[in-house]
Every structure is written in structure tokens, then in C-alpha cells.
């Protein structure tokens, strides 16, 4: 039997829909969703991750300025960053001696493949510590700030490390560097917690710390962060498929070896760098945060230049006077505080640096790994 037009309920119901109603309802839902979203902690969104289940966990924390080629990107959501790391999915075996590396781009491994980094090379050594297999995780993150390192250290305790290795360099010590790292600046709540927990002499109202307005907390305000989390998950596919997490250019500009006749370090001039100018309190907080877990502090290797004005400066970062005083202070501090400290500042020859005075070639990392492994075995494993 043929239906008449009046008997066709689908057509009838379609005609009844008023586009204005649709628009108003959509707008209403959109506003409600945005308001509800402000009550959520945006950081928690990062806990949902496809890594370590669908895609393999990353060997190092996500960081990258050219996502299309590196299949990696920089974001500020610490939960998402850590959830994408292999350590988040690695169940600790009974015979595992878990070592976590924190630090700056030299630990993360700028221009190095995951296996060429300090963590990668230490793992390839097949070390054991009191019959437990040493497994090293790279939780370094580019940008130089002790507070950034502390922020990560405070989080990685959850992964039950047996040792934390913390390579550092003078550039991460000045107070003005502490909150300028974008990762720190965009994690205000985490920084305020650290300030309160460890009584840090940092200004909670520092303008570097990004404060979210009510609008910033809405779905619209958080769209960039949400997109970053989504992109991080999607790039997990190509990370899994290629094992690539960084662009490796065929050529790069080598680290500077000729300098102006400049002996300033930040706003400091000779003769003396005062202890209060440097953030030693952050190291103390880090050791306190580590609790029972031993912390091995390493003064990381730097480029010692032999170019123009190298009698005044070691490299782009450091005038000689400031760096020499820093080394003395580190030694005195570590002896006084009982820190487990190794100074490897001049370990690596100048031709084993890449594009910065702290970035090493694979061979340079190999030298550093040999010394670091020795320090781990002699200073930590013998005391177990």
C-alpha cells in the first residue's frame, strides 16, 4: 500500500524541527559544558593515555618543536607527559635496580637517538647492582632549571626508583632561571605545592608563573592543552612505528668557541659569586623529596673552549671565574650536607660536544656513561 505524505512520520518530524531551537539548545549545552569543565582539574585529563597499552611508552619525556617530523611535541601537562613515558608502564621486577635520570637537555639527549643518551648507554652496559639488574630511565627534560628538575623528581617517586641520578650545571642555579622554564611556568599549582612543602625561597606571585583565569579553565580556554594531549596520543602511533622522537639534522651549528671579551654571568660580575645567588636550596629540597632513595648528583661535563677569549670564558654559558667558584661551592656544599656528588666537568674533550656547551656526541655520552656507571657501582651499590 502506498503511503500518503501525511502518513510518513519521518518527513513530518523533520518539518517540526526549528533550526533556532537547535541553535539555542546547542549554545546552552555548550555554555553548560564550559562551566562544568572549569570544575575539573585540567591536569587530570593527561592521565588517560594510549601509551604503554596501545602504543609503546616513550624512552624520554615528550618534547619537540617540529611535531610533523619528530612525532613529538612540547606540552605542559605533567600527567600526560609522565603517562606517555615507558616508566609509567614498566612494572618493576623483583631483580630490577631502578635508576631514574633527571636533568636538562643533555640528559634528555638533544641530537641523540634514545640508545645514544646517557640512559640508553647505561642500559646497554648491562650493569648489575648487588645482583639486581640496573635499568635506567631517562626523565630528563630540556630547559635549564633546578626547580623544573625538582618538580619531576617530586613526581617520579611514585615509580619506586632505587636511585636518582641528577646531572646539573651552573646555568640551572641562578634564581632567575627557576621559574622561567615553560614547563614550570605553566604548572603553577605544582610549583606552589613545592614552595609550601619544602619552604623554598621562590616568590609564589612571580609573574613568570601562569595564572589561569576562570575563562582559561573552560573547555574553550583549555582547547590548546586538550589538543596537545590528543596530538601526543596520536603521535604515539608514529613513535611506535618509527622509534623516532626527535629531528636529526644532517648538519647543525656547532657550539660557540670564540667569545666576546665578556666576563659577566647573568647579572653577576667578579670577584665573587655569593652562595645565596644560587639555588642550592632546591637541591636540598630534591634530596628531601627523594626520601630514602639515594640521589647521585653529577656536575655535568661542559665544553672547555680554546678559541678567542677562552682565557676569560670556558664556553658560551660560563666565564671562568664564575664557574670555578661554582665548582668550589658545590664541593663545599656537598661535603657539608653529605650529598653524593661527582664532579665530571672536564671529562669530555671539546670535539665531543655538538650544538651547545652541554650537549654531547654519542662518544661523549659514552665517556660520561662510563664514569657515571662507576660512580653508581662504587658510591651506591656498595652501600646497599
Amino acid at each position: 500500500m502506498e503511503l500518503t505524505l501525511a502518513e510518513q512520520p519521518e518527513v513530518k518530524s523533520k518539518e517540526k524541527i526549528n533550526p533556532l531551537n537547535v541553535i539555542f539548545k546547542a549554545l546552552g549545552l555548550f555554555i553548560i559544558l564550559n562551566i562544568l569543565f572549569t570544575f575539573l582539574d585540567p591536569g587530570n585529563m593527561g592521565k588517560l593515555s594510549l601509551y604503554n597499552s596501545i602504543f609503546p611508552g616513550r624512552s624520554r619525556l615528550p618534547f619537540g618543536e617540529n611535531p610533523a617530523e619528530s612525532y613529538n611535541l612540547s606540552l605542559y601537562n605533567l600527567n600526560a607527559m609522565l603517562a606517555s613515558h615507558e616508566i609509567a608502564g614498566a612494572e618493576k621486577a623483583g631483580d630490577e635496580f631502578r635508576v631514574v635520570l633527571i636533568g636538562d637537555s643533555s640528559v634528555w639527549g638533544t641530537l641523540l637517538k634514545p640508545g645514544e643518551t646517557l640512559a640508553g648507554q647505561l642500559n646497554q652496559m648491562g650493569l648489575t647492582c648487588n645482583d639486581r639488574k640496573i635499568r635506567v630511565y631517562n626523565l630528563g627534560y630540556p630547559t635549564i632549571s633546578l626547580t623544573k628538575d625538582l618538580m619531576l623528581l617530586d613526581r617520579i617517586k611514585a615509580y619506586d626508583p632505587d636511585l636518582i641520578v641528577w646531572p646539573m650545571t651552573l646555568e640551572s642555579f641562578p634564581w632567575d632561571k627557576q621559574l622561567s622554564s615553560p614547563l614550570v611556568a605553566n604548572n603553577r599549582t605544582a610549583v606552589l605545592n613545592l614552595i609550601e612543602k619544602y619552604n623554598l625561597p621562590l616568590d609564589p606571585n612571580d609573574p613568570d608563573l601562569v595564572t589561569l583565569t576562570q575563562f582559561d579553565k573552560t573547555l574553550v580556554g583549555q582547547r590548546r592543552n586538550l589538543a596537545d594531549i590528543l596530538r601526543l596520543q596520536l603521535y604515539g602511533f608514529k613513535w611506535g612505528a618509527t622509534g623516532i622522537d626527535q629531528v636529526y639534522p644532517e648538519t647543525f651549528e656547532p657550539a660557540q668557541i670564540d667569545f666576546e671579551e665578556d666576563i659577566t654571568f647573568h647579572e653577576f660580575v667578579p670577584p665573587a659569586l655569593q652562595e645565596q645567588n644560587l639555588a642550592f636550596e632546591i637541591i636540598s629540597a630534591g634530596i628531601q623529596a627523594a626520601g630514602d632513595t639515594p640521589v647521585l648528583i653529577i656536575n655535568e661535563p661542559i665544553l672547555i673552549s680554546d678559541g678567542t677569549n677562552s682565557d676569560l670564558r670556558y664556553n658560551f654559558f660560563y666565564p671562568r671565574w664564575a664557574y670555578d667558584q661554582y665548582r668550589e661551592m658545590m664541593l663545599e656544599k656537598s661535603e657539608a650536607e653529605g650529598w653524593n656528588y661527582v664532579d665530571l666537568w672536564n671529562l669530555v674533550p671539546a670535539d665531543e660536544f655538538t650544538n651547545s656547551a652541554i650537549h654531547l656526541t654519542p662518544e661523549g655520552e659514552n665517556l660520561l656513561a662510563a664514569e657515571t656507571s662507576q660512580a653508581i657501582l662504587e658510591r651506591v651499590c656498595t652501600h646497599e
Binding site: K14, E15, I17, N18, P19, V22, P67, A68, E69, L230, R231, L234, Y235, F237, K238, G240, A241, T242, I244
Partner: protein
């Protein structure tokens, strides 16, 4: 097209849809479409080229109208208003050179006003000449358009053209690149023009005024990514617009939003994991490579069909129904059906202006059916491949599908009787259908390897990896 441009177009189309006065409506559509030619043209490093290419587009469109319009309609007296508006738009855009403000169009600093005036005078003189020539001039215009297409689609010729233009402009020829010569929407514009010229030559073209014709060829929603609509349907909608009622608004809005979602959410996400020239050599495991290839296949579908949905949605708002371009192509059980449902407006164009005439010609010569099928399928698909770009990869892609269509045709011919007698129950038909879909999709996906990558060696490497051959 950026999201901002798309939203601006949708708003404009909505305004047009609400206008009741037909002449005002047509004028706004015409002006918006002409301005869109300039607004959507990518910025180019050769000085002034991103102004001259849209100008050339408009000149070609006007000339093609002179070629296709009845001689009684070509007089200056009848058309001076439209020509004056076009010249006025050119000069107004040119005058922005002297304003110290950032405007969305033209996309970069226009040439000097005297140069534009001179160009307008030359173009007008050329137009006057073309308007007086007989109908054979249409074939010349088609040849010119094909020549432009070959130059644009061939990286070597594009680079050569770029170097020549740079030399004329006294710019460094060392920087010449095929990317210097990106001409917005030219492929689609030229196919619409060829359609009208051929239909005019065959006596099938409906009469269109200059303003209608220009609006048809450069209709802003379909300017960058089609579809290649036909003029008779367009004129019908343009002259008798259905009022923008609730139902139409809902249809248009749904189509538009679905298109945005497909393009900016699904396709853009798939792009992050899809096969491309950067990752083609980085993946060494077959499983990952298949997934990347499938991601590419769906990225392409959602990107392109998303744009089509957006164009159809905007068109509906403005009262113009553009043709469908995709109809679940990956769910078709054989290659012939795939091509009947993928980029339908392009395949219909090739069927009308190449495949059918060639088939008729070969039949008249008494050539056997299999030879006709082989020749027509392969040559049509080769041309479709070359339309995407003049390179060995597109040639192979065209061959892949041409030969595939031929095999499909012969296979169907040979097995039809057997299938009819042996596959009779519903489960058998369902299994046969599913097998056909899987086989067709994978055949098409493998063909995308040639389409996605710029070099044959890369495609070869991907093929080897897909089938587990690792050359290390």
C-alpha cells in the same frame, strides 16, 4: 581554505539565502565569488603573481563566456555593467596598495595601479577580438587551458615557468620552485569551462548571461576543491531559488557541520598518523605500514568528502544545490562501483567528455569490446592521474586503476553467469559482497601508495615493506 574563510563564506551564503530579490542575490553571489578568487589565492613569492593569476582566471572566464554565449548576447551595450564591476574590483584591489592597513585581500601587495589599468586595457582589447571570432575559437581556448594545466601539474614545467617569471620580474631565478606557481582552483575552473565550451559546440549549452556564467565558474563554495558542477543545474537553482526555509536551513547546517567535523577533526587527526613522504622510509615493519596506509586512505576520503560537504552546505544556504562527490566509496564491492562513487563529479566529467566519445569512436571503427574496454579504461584513468600531477607516480596510479578496471570488467563478464547460478542464498551473497569490499578497498589503498608519495623509489620501498620484504 582556512576555518575563518569557511565560516565567513557560510555567513555570506546565509545572507544571500535570506535575500528575496533575485537580481540583488545574483549580484552578491557574483561579487563574492569574484572576490573569493583573490582572497583564496595563496600568497606567492613572485612579485604580483598572486594578483595576476586571479586576474587571469577572471579574464579566461570572461573570454570563455564570449566563446560560449550566442553572438547576439555578446555586445558591450548588454554587458558593460558586469565588465565595469569586474574592472572596478581589479582597480579597487589595486588601490589597496596605497592604503597603510592590513586587509584580507588581496593576499599581498598588489601591483601599481598603472600596471593594472594597462592590463585591463589589454584584456579588454583581447576580449573584443575574441568576441568577434567564430565558434572554433572555443577549441583554441580548450587547448590553451590544457596547456596551462600541463604546466601547472608538471613540476619541471612549473619550475621553468617560475624561473621565467622571476627573470621578467628581476627576481633571483635560483629560488625558482614549482611551488611558486600555485594557481588557485585552476583545475576545477578549467574543467567547468571545457564543459561549457564542449556543450556549446555540441549545441547542448543553455544560454547564460555573463554575470551568471562568471558566478557559475568561480562559485565561491566550490572554488578550491569542487565539486565540478554542471551549468544547467546551477542556472536552474540560480534563477529559481527555493526559499531558505527551516528544512533547508537544517539540511545545509547539518551538511556544513558534518563537513567541518570530517575535515578539521577526523581528517586532520588521521593526517598525523597517515603515510607521507617523511615517514615512508622510516617504517620497517609491515603492520605499522599497513596501518599508516589505511590512515592515509581514510584521511584522503574524509578530507575531500569533508570539503565537499562544506561546499554543498554553503551552497544550500545560498540556494544552490551542488552535486554529490562521494557515496561511501570504500564500501563498494568492486572497482567499477568504487569509481562510480569516488570523486563522482570528476569521473562524470571524464565519462562525458573523454570516455564516451572515445568509446563511440572505437566502436564505429569495429574494434573488439575487450580492446575498447582496455583502451578506454586505461587512457581515462591515465588522464585522471595526470590531472592530479604530471609525474611517474600519478601515471602508475592511473595505470593501476585503468588495468584494475579492465580486469574487473573482464572478470565480471566471465563470471557473471557462474555467480548467478552458484551464489544464490543470502549468506552467500553477503560473504561475496564482503569479500568484494575488502578486496576493492585494499586494491584502492595500495594504489594510494603511488598517489601519496612523490617518488617511485619511495613507493617501491613502501610496497616491499607492506609485503614484509625488508631491504634494510
Amino acid at each position: 581554505m582556512t576555518l575563518t574563510q569557511i565560516l565567513a563564506f557560510a555567513a555570506l551564503a546565509l545572507v544571500v539565502g535570506l535575500i528575496r530579490r533575485p537580481r540583488l542575490r545574483l549580484f552578491i553571489l557574483f561579487t563574492a565569488s569574484v572576490l573569493a578568487v583573490f582572497a583564496l589565492q595563496p600568497s606567492l613569492p613572485i612579485r604580483g603573481l598572486d594578483f595576476w593569476l586571479p586576474t587571469a582566471t577572471l579574464a579566461i572566464v570572461v573570454y570563455s563566456w564570449f566563446v560560449t554565449a550566442p553572438s547576439s548576447a555578446r555586445s558591450l551595450k548588454q554587458n558593460w555593467r558586469v565588465l565595469a564591476v569586474l574592472a572596478g574590483i581589479l582597480l579597487t584591489l589595486g588601490a589597496t596598495r596605497y592604503l597603510d592597513i592590513n586587509l584580507p585581500l588581496p593576499v599581498s601587495r598588489p601591483p601599481q595601479i598603472m600596471q593594472i589599468l594597462l592590463a585591463v586595457a589589454i584584456l579588454a582589447a583581447l576580449g573584443t577580438l575574441i568576441a568577434r571570432l567564430p565558434v572554433w575559437i572555443g577549441s583554441v581556448l580548450i587547448a590553451v587551458l590544457i596547456l596551462f594545466l600541463v604546466v601547472l601539474k608538471s613540476p619541471v614545467l612549473s619550475e621553468w615557468a617560475s624561473a621565467a617569471l622571476r627573470r621578467m620580474n628581476q627576481q633571483s631565478t635560483e629560488m625558482a620552485s614549482a611551488l611558486d606557481f600555485r594557481w588557485l582552483g585552476f583545475s576545477y575552473i578549467s574543467f567547468r569551462i571545457i564543459h561549457t565550451i564542449r556543450d556549446r559546440q555540441n549545441g547542448k549549452l543553455p544560454d547564460a548571461s555573463l554575470i551568471e556564467y562568471v558566478t557559475y565558474v568561480v562559485f565561491f563554495p566550490a572554488l578550491t576543491a569542487g565539486p565540478i558542477h554542471r551549468i544547467e543545474r546551477f542556472l536552474s537553482d540560480l534563477r529559481n531559488p527555493a526559499p531558505l526555509n527551516q528544512e533547508k536551513l537544517l539540511d545545509a547546517g547539518q551538511r556544513f557541520v558534518i563537513g567541518l567535523f570530517k575535515k578539521f577533526v577526523v581528517a586532520d587527526c588521521l593526517a598525523l598518523i597517515a603515510l607521507n613522504s617523511t615517514n615512508a622510509l622510516q617504517v620497517q615493519h609491515a603492520g605499522w605500514m599497513w596501518l599508516m596506509l589505511y590512515a592515509y586512505a581514510f584521511q584522503l576520503l574524509f578530507d575531500f568528502s569533508g570539503y565537499t560537504d562544506i561546499a554543498i552546505g554553503i551552497g544550500l544556504l545560498a540556494g544552490i544545490r551542488l552535486p554529490e562527490n562521494f557515496n561511501n566509496p570504500y564500501l563498494k564491492p568492486n572497482l567499477t562501483q568504487f569509481w562510480n562513487n569516488w570523486h563522482m563529479s570528476l569521473t562524470q566529467w571524464f565519462r562525458a567528455y573523454f570516455f564516451n566519445p572515445l568509446t563511440r569512436t572505437m566502436r564505429k571503427k569495429g574494434i573488439s569490446i575487450p580492446v575498447i574496454v582496455l583502451n578506454t579504461q586505461v587512457s581515462t584513468m591515465l588522464l585522471i592521474g595526470l590531472w592530479h600531477g604530471v609525474s611517474w607516480n600519478f601515471v602508475l596510479w592511473g595505470l593501476w586503476h585503468g588495468v584494475g578496471l579492465f580486469i574487473n570488467n573482464r572478470w565480471s563478464d566471465r563470471t557473471k553467469a557462474w555467480m548467478d547460478t552458484h551464489i544464490t542464498t543470502r549468506p552467500q551473497r553477503v560473504v561475496s559482497q564482503i569479500c568484494g569490499i575488502v578486496l576493492t578497498f585494499n586494491f584502492v589503498a595500495l594504489g594510494w601508495v603511488f598517489f601519496a608519495l612523490p617518488k617511485l623509489q619511495m613507493s617501491w620501498h613502501v610496497f616491499l615493506t607492506l609485503f614484509g620484504v625488508n631491504l634494510g
